[in-house]
């Protein structure tokens, strides 16, 4: 497997080179993007060149205030947006040039779900993850059912299988959505604010599940989140964005600097080291 990233010097803060021995799976190379209302006007928003790499089993957290470009960066990684410059390589493939089906076999995306128009059971929902593997008129095989069942079991949601999606709690729903992503058998698992609207217990639960799955299934996980402490606890790498600029990429310990976080999030805070060596952020209520 070639990884052109190694020969480049564009990665100032690759961090502590976690989990040695495995090859780079995801390589985000100098991707940039610009939104504009129409082509003749100056862009309303720009994402400046961003780069980082991740290995199988690694969790990368993308952090930053609102409108810092987190979701845009995630969409570019997913191949849903074509970057203005640069490229995203997943095991050597450029993600935005993959056909939809081929892409869905490699990349699964968990995002804030759209409301369902018609009632659907959890198992139907999870089986949808097998869609990229079937031809248009194919009926699900035994194998698909086994994979979907395993996916539900892996997120601890087997008991939800026959429930209606409209009748389960937010945390349970998020597990079922995660199970659908797992049944795609992806190499890369992307999550856009998966902990939004979840209570603290469900948030910790979800991140712990992700951490376990990344290790067990060797997924590369990229998660966009506002939860600084959860990211510090579970991420191997953190990408800190501000106004489309990537300020720092590295281990939580190297990115979580008091001055830096205060400047990015515009709020007084302190950073201390937790018992497991990971940083912990405390907000200081301003007087």
């Amino acid at each position: 497997m070639s990884s052109p990233a190694h020969s480049s010097s564009a990665w100032p803060n690759l961090g502590d080179a976690p989990r040695a021995g495995s090859e780079v799976r995801l390589s985000v190379e100098q991707v940039s993007y610009a939104y504009s209302a129409n082509p003749t006007q100056a862009p309303l928003f720009t994402l400046e060149a961003n780069s980082f790499q991740a290995r199988p089993g690694e969790i990368v957290a993308i952090l930053g205030p609102n409108a810092s470009g987190k979701s845009t960066l995630l969409k570019i990684i997913a191949g849903a947006l074509e970057p203005l410059s640069g490229r995203v390589l997943l095991d050597g493939f450029v993600t935005h040039t993959l056909a939809p089906r081929a892409r869905a076999q490699r990349i699964a995306m968990v995002q804030q779900e759209s409301p369902l128009l018609f009632p659907s059971r959890a198992w139907e929902f999870v089986l949808q993850g097998r869609h990229p593997y079937g031809r248009s008129l194919r009926f699900e095989s035994e194998n698909d059912v086994i994979i979907a069942r395993n996916a539900l079991a892996q997120v601890g949601a087997d008991h939800l299988s026959d429930r209606w999606m409209s009748e389960i709690s937010g945390g349970e729903k998020q597990r079922v959505i995660l199970a659908r992503a797992l049944s795609q058998q992806p190499l890369l698992l992307l999550l856009d604010e998966p902990t939004l609207h979840l209570d603290i217990g469900a948030q910790v639960d979800l991140l712990a599940t992700l951490h376990r799955l990344a290790a067990e299934n060797r997924y590369t996980v990229v998660v966009v989140t506002h939860e600084l402490n959860l990211a510090a606890e579970y991420a191997d790498q953190v990408v800190l964005l501000q106004k489309g600029k990537s300020l720092r990429v590295g281990s939580p310990a190297s990115v979580y600097q008091r001055d830096l976080l205060e400047q990015v999030f515009h709020t007084p805070l302190t950073v201390e080291q937790g018992p497991n060596g990971r940083p912990r952020v405390n907000l200081l209520p301003s007087s």
Partner: protein, 346 residues
Amino acid sequence: MRPLTLQRLFLQCSLLAVVLFVVVVIALKLGAVPVSLYGLGRDLISVLLHQTKALTSDYGMIVIEIRLPRILLAIVVGASLSVAGTSYQALLRNPLADPYVLGVSMGAALGAILALIAEPHLALPVWLATLFTPLGAFLGAAATVAAVYFLGRREGQIDSGTLLLAGIISSSFLSAIIMFLLTTLTGHDFRGMVFWLMGDLSTSLQSSLRWVLGVGFLVATGAIYTTASDLNLLLAGEKEAMHLGVDVRRVRLVVYIAASILTGLAVSVSGAIGYVGLLVPHVMRLLFGSDHRILLPTAAFGGAIAVVIADTLARTVVAPSELPVGAMTALVGAPLFIYLLRRRIA
């Protein structure tokens, strides 16, 4: 987990085929002229054996040459409208969408009328002359869906309330234009046209048009069916569908064109029959679930059954006079639409 199997699909479609058959037999029997089941069976068999001369009763002619073609037309029109409605509901992510509510039927009607007006002035080859009205209806339908789709968007997202409003407004605007054309044009059968606009299956078709209708229905429905499992995901949201490997643009284009063909064909031969495309898919969803691999074929059968029943009622309740079938479907459909709307709000 009980994923859909080919066996289950086949079983449920066979069941509906039996229901359709029974409804057709009853429809053949009912009418201003009474026919016995025995005579009916004998006549049908002689037609199947191409022994039309052997028709025993005087009434055989009525049944075979008037009622049967009309019922077959009702089957194709009903199935077309129902499949089109199912498709629009998925395409626009709106459970209240259907060709009539969205104004697409009126667009198709206007297209058909414009084609009728233009046709005598153009020296068209015979094959194109046959196709001309359905083609006009198709273009009218396609243009209306596109217009309603863009009018129904707010901040780049389809908004279901805005979409329905756009449909209702388009519908009344288009029918105003139609009324203007019908009253200013002389030499056309005004009353016949108004009857047709309300939905009317009594016109007998040229045999070439029958072929266009039959083949068009099969091709368009087949095309939509190839996207059945994509539509399931599309209903869950365009972004989700894309990340699950659906080529959203291709599916949208196929369904948009095919559903417009179905609406155009149905309207050009039978006018604007309302509510079939709205009502039938909902009933089928309640009975068979919302998986489009089973919903599309069952909706086709259901639409056929519904329109055959409606048309039979339309030509029998006030016999020897007749109601337009569209009036019949609206009598049942409008209250159901209101019920669905209210349940959705609650």
